[in-house]
């Protein structure tokens, strides 16, 4: 960030501080009376817009950041061969803070099928994690493709 850019943000921040407590109408009136460069105006509008957005990772309890934390040293063999419902777990495909994804094979004889199976970690059981998982499944449920298992 160069000096000019920094200055523009600092000016926008100062103006923002004057506007925080005002309602929308008062804000517009006050802003119209504030002299500022187009760049500062752009920044200021961005700052104001952020007050309308909710961000669970920032506004919630700090534990909402649980999914950023690393999982314990992975023991990649630990789940192999284990059976979950009709699926038998093979190798690990990947992992994030929220979940581990395994390759799994259908073993109930109904059909030969290999899928990616997502197992949630402890952190994902928190309120935010559960909500995110629900959103994901909602969206996945709407996707239709021969390679996607319902």
């Amino acid at each position: 960030m160069d000096a000019a850019e920094r200055l523009a943000w600092q000016q926008a921040d100062r103006l923002f501080a004057e506007l925080i407590d005002l309602d929308a109408v008062q804000r517009d009136e006050r802003m119209a009376a504030m002299p500022m460069s187009p760049e500062v105006r752009h920044h200021l509008l961005r700052l104001l817009a952020s007050t309308q957005q909710e961000h669970a990772w920032l506004d919630g309890e700090a534990s909402a950041l649980g999914h950023w934390l690393p999982l314990a040293t992975p023991d990649k063999g630990s789940m192999r061969g284990r059976r979950l419902g009709v699926w038998e777990i093979a190798d690990e495909l990947g992992r994030g803070g929220m979940a581990v994804i395994y390759r799994a094979r259908r073993v109930d004889g109904a059909a030969e099928q290999v899928v990616a199976l997502k197992l949630l970690s402890i952190a994902s059981l928190s309120r935010n994690g559960a909500e995110q998982f629900r959103r994901e499944t909602d969206i996945l449920a709407r996707l239709a493709h021969p390679h996607i298992v319902g």
Binding site: D13, L69, L93
Partner: protein, 181 residues
């Protein structure tokens, strides 16, 4: 190992609010706490960053704890140290994560639609930009996000009104989110 109270006092009287020695000690303590948790828990447990920071506080300050001003500075250092540890780990795991991208493509796409959480490394870069604009705002975000301190706790330890801390938080939050774009 130097006494943390003395180190914090030295930091206060000097130019830097977070003396390198304090940071180094807190960082080392947090790392070793994190490592012992990882060793102790086989399987898929996550570490609670906030819990680790508070455990480090108890470990380094002993039974008496610190007075409010020292405590505030301690948590400012500890939050920065925790951020560093998480970033180091995220970078180390980068290669592993890229390997998982294929499997997660659908989910990540879905996350994009739902405006989910940013990546830690993006937040880290945004915090660097925030620091250039307002170092105090950067510190405030770190203490909230990586040490889990509430605005009430921050008001108490900084000896300021909740209203005033809350205003600073609104500004810091807006600036941070703007830097994440």
């Amino acid at each position: 190992m130097g006494d943390i109270t003395e180190l914090l006092r030295a930091a206060q009287s000097g130019d830097s609010r977070c003396l390198d020695a304090v940071f180094a000690q807190v960082y080392a303590t947090l790392r070793s706490l994190a490592a012992s948790r990882l060793a102790a828990q086989a399987g898929e447990h996550t570490l609670g960053a906030t819990a680790l920071v508070h455990e480090a506080y108890l470990k380094l300050t002993g039974a008496q704890g610190l007075d409010l001003v020292d405590r505030h500075h301690f948590f400012a250092c500890a939050a920065r140290a925790m951020r560093q540890i998480l970033v180091d780990r995220a970078r180390a795991r980068g290669a592993l994560k890229r390997g998982a991208d294929l499997a997660r493509e659908t989910l990540d796409h879905a996350k994009g639609i739902a405006a989910a959480e940013p990546e830690l490394l993006d937040v880290d870069a945004a915090l660097d930009r925030l620091d250039a604009i307002d170092p105090g705002a950067r510190e405030l975000v770190e203490m909230r996000v990586f040490a889990g301190l509430t605005l009430e706790q921050l008001a108490e330890s900084s000896g300021r009104s909740l209203r005033s801390v809350n205003r600073d938080w609104q500004r810091a939050r807006a600036l941070l989110l703007a830097q994440l774009d």
